[in-house]
């Protein structure tokens, strides 16, 4: 019954809109469409679903600040089922409808396919180009050897995150253990963390370095036994999903004296799995945490993130996506057009402050964002807890933009205007 009513009301609304459109032609400006493609079904649906809600909240805010060129932004979601082929279908649909942007966060393999597809499309169709806004595919290669003029990455890459992680290790830590997932991403975490330890902390000894099959391990206790036997003080891992949750859970339950340095412990399901036992033991290299704003006394940012919680009742861990949309907004206004080529030229090298007040720069050489990054520690007594566990991420270290600058091997090929 509810369903029928929804359809009826939607149809009625559609009719009214049609009538209004017919009566007042060209009154409302068309929206600026941003295609968003990520898994919205299947095992990783929670990631895409949560991102979508957070982006919508951010876009509503940007639109309330006037959008760009007097036009509002509109997010158009496409399910890619974690498949590169489906992401390419989304790309085709987006270009068919002349959308100037496509956005994708999860999976560097999908990102690589998109970059390749976009390069070809933009070469062949100079009057209908599209920009790829990368919100979380972090393979280092994508802004190095495989860099593209049309690709803008708004999250730090694996090498940068690895450097942040190694810098966060306290001086007393001299023995570490590495566990990563046995595929492209995990292997690059393993390589980069190892390299930065050698470079920045030669006093640290890597007492164990292991790859595990992706998503296959049911019981991590044997690994914990091994880590215990190795005498490691800290476990460094790029694992995500069950591979991270079960690993930390097993470690905490065994009660061994170990600290956990992770890339993803703060995301979906992590805090729930860690629980109170992980207090002051689990660290996450993160792009944002809801306690940063109250910690630095930024009332405006705090009120804005708290508004999301009031509306959606889950963690606003991706609030930093606001930086993406603010860069896009500024670039469009600067370019004075929604032409992808002009926007791309306006966006590269663009510097602005993020909503917390820290500097960001879309580096011209490789289209890699330079931004403040944080190391959070999981503890009690924070203002905003994570996943209703009563514990949350307190900022243990803030790494400013200038400390994540790394050289790039990118040889950017720019189009002629």
């Amino acid at each position: 019954m509810r369903f029928v009513r929804t359809i009826l009301s939607a149809a009625a609304a559609g009719l009214v809109a049609l009538a209004a459109g017919a009566m007042q032609p060209a009154m409302a400006q068309p929206t600026i469409k941003i295609a968003y493609t990520d898994p919205l079904s299947g095992p990783f649906a929670q990631v895409g679903d949560a991102n979508l809600k957070q982006m919508q909240y951010i876009i509503d805010h940007i639109n309330s600040k006037g959008g760009a060129l007097g036009r509002k932004f509109e997010l158009v979601p496409f399910d890619n089922k974690s498949q590169p082929s489906d992401a390419l279908i989304a790309l085709k649909t987006a270009t068919d409808q002349n959308m100037p942007f496509i956005m994708q966060c999860s999976g560097s393999n999908i990102a690589a396919a998109l970059i390749d597809g976009i390069n070809k499309h933009n070469d062949r169709n100079p009057d209908n180009r599209i920009i790829y806004l990368n919100c979380g595919a972090v393979a280092t290669e994508l802004t190095n050897d495989q860099c593209s003029f049309w690709h803008f990455r708004f999250d730090l890459n694996v090498a940068q995150k690895a450097e942040v992680m190694v810098r966060a290790l306290p001086k007393t830590t001299t023995k570490v253990y590495l566990i990563n997932q046995d595929y492209l991403f995990g292997q690059s975490v393993q390589r980069d963390v190892g390299a930065f330890i050698k470079k920045l902390r030669p006093d640290i000894q890597i007492v164990g370095d292991e790859l595990i099959p992706l998503g296959k391990i049911q019981d991590f206790s044997p690994y914990i036994t091994k880590i215990k036997a190795s005498g490691a003080q800290a476990l460094l891992t790029g694992n995500w999903g069950p591979d991270m949750n079960l690993l930390i859970k097993a470690g905490i339950e065994s009660g061994i004296d170990l600290n956990y340095y992770t890339f993803y412990a703060h995301l979906a399901g992590g805090p729930t799995a860690i629980g109170p036992g992980g207090e002051n033991r689990v660290y996450a290299v993160m792009s944002f945490g809801e306690n940063i704003a109250p910690e630095i006394g930024n009332k405006e940012a705090e009120a804005w993130t708290a508004g999301f919680r009031a509306k959606h009742n889950f963690d606003f861990s991706a609030a930093v996506f606001r930086t993406i949309f603010e860069h896009v907004q500024a670039a469009i206004n600067k370019a004075g057009s929604v032409d992808a080529t002009k926007i791309a030229f306006a966006m590269e090298g663009q510097a602005m402050k993020d909503f917390l007040g820290y500097d960001t720069l879309m580096r011209k050489d490789d289209h890699q964002i330079m931004t403040a990054y944080y190391v959070g520690v999981f503890k009690k007594g924070v203002k905003y807890d994570a996943e209703k566990t009563g514990l949350g991420w307190s900022t243990a270290a803030t790494i400013k933009m200038d400390d994540v600058q790394q050289p790039t091997s990118c040889k950017m090929r720019r189009p002629r205007i």
Binding site: P222, A229, K249, S254, G269
Partner: protein, 315 residues
């Protein structure tokens, strides 16, 4: 020594959890010939039921009620679903349970959300039982061992020492004859299916907080349980028990043994270097493939002994 003892205990705990899941499946499989793809889903549903119940009535009540709810669900599925499909042969049953698994997963996602729920070990059991060279052995693991051991004992006694067990065994091997003797074979089937799902539910109740209760848990546990059932042999509870423990121990010990085929060859005086053909394959260490070992064993046993370890008839 330290690593050995701790690994042995871990392997046992994991093996017993596998057994709780696999015992129900092997009962259903051997009895009705249905490879029940939705079995691991019952494990997941059990965990979610227990989570919700424990919010209101506490863990101990949930420990009893959640499996019963799962059993009722199983009975309903058998009576109104599987029995109708049964006429159309095993392929139809297989597809039916497969579809059911997908539906249950989606239903769980829609009811409890996509991310993990905070289902925790009850505070009464949340303490280290003893300390082994600095590694604590949580009391909850001992509790898991206890529950699964009790379960094994009661199923075994129930099947071999009671009248109902006799009827089940008769219906297992000679369904027509048992029916002709006046036993209600369809009802026996429903009972077995319900009991099987209840066991999986029980595994979910005590496995859900030991691991993580999330919508992907059925999918991640499913394949390994099938391996155990096929490896142990159809219709053999003892075989299933041995296979479970074996799989638990193999996976646990494979992780701590840092050896590769290259090390094995070196014992025979053949040194593998990077230049050796196939060196990448030979140098893969055991921990890296630990999670795949059960599947390798599955292939081997199907080739060498299709009826499984203690099976009474061929697959």
């Amino acid at each position: 020594m330290e690593v050995f003892v701790v690994s042995l205990l871990n392997g046992l705990v994991y093996g017993m959890l596998l057994f709780m899941l696999a015992s129900g499946l092997t009962l259903i499989f051997s009895m009705m010939g249905v490879l029940n793809f939705a079995h691991a889903s019952a494990y997941m549903v059990g965990a979610y039921f227990a989570y919700t119940l424990s919010l209101y009535v506490g863990f101990w009540v949930a420990l009893i009620v959640a499996p019963i709810l799962c059993g009722l669900l199983g009975a309903a599925i058998e009576m109104w679903g599987l029995r109708r499909v049964h006429k159309n042969g095993h392929i139809a049953e297989l597809l039916f349970t497969f579809g059911l698994a997908l539906i249950i997963e989606k239903a769980v996602q829609m009811t409890w959300g996509l991310i993990a729920v905070p289902y925790r070990i009850p505070s009464g059991l949340d303490f280290p039982l003893f300390d082994l060279w600095g590694t604590q052995f949580p009391a909850y693991r001992a509790f898991m061992l206890l529950i699964s051991a009790l379960m094994f004992l009661s199923i075994w006694l129930g099947l071999t020492r009671t009248r109902i067990g006799l009827v089940i065994q008769a219906a297992l091997t000679h369904p027509d004859m048992a029916g002709a003797l006046g036993h209600n074979v369809p009802r026996v089937f429903t009972m077995v299916f319900a009991a099987g799902t209840a066991l999986a539910g029980l595994a979910g109740v005590i496995g859900g907080n030991y691991r993580v209760t999330e919508p992907g848990m059925a999918f991640s546990m499913g394949p390994i349980v099938f391996v155990v059932v096929v490896f142990g042999g159809l219709g053999s509870l003892t075989g299933c028990f041995i296979a479970s423990i074996l799989m638990g121990l193999i996976q646990t010990f494979a992780v701590v043994l840092d050896y590769s085929l290259a090390d094995l060859l070196e014992v025979f005086g053949f040194v593998v270097t990077k230049a050796t053909p196939g060196s990448e394959f030979l140098m893969v260490t055991l921990p890296r493939i630990a999670a795949l070992l059960p599947f390798i064993l599955l292939v081997l046993i199907l080739v060498l002994r299709p009826r499984g370890l203690l099976g009474t008839r061929d697959t």
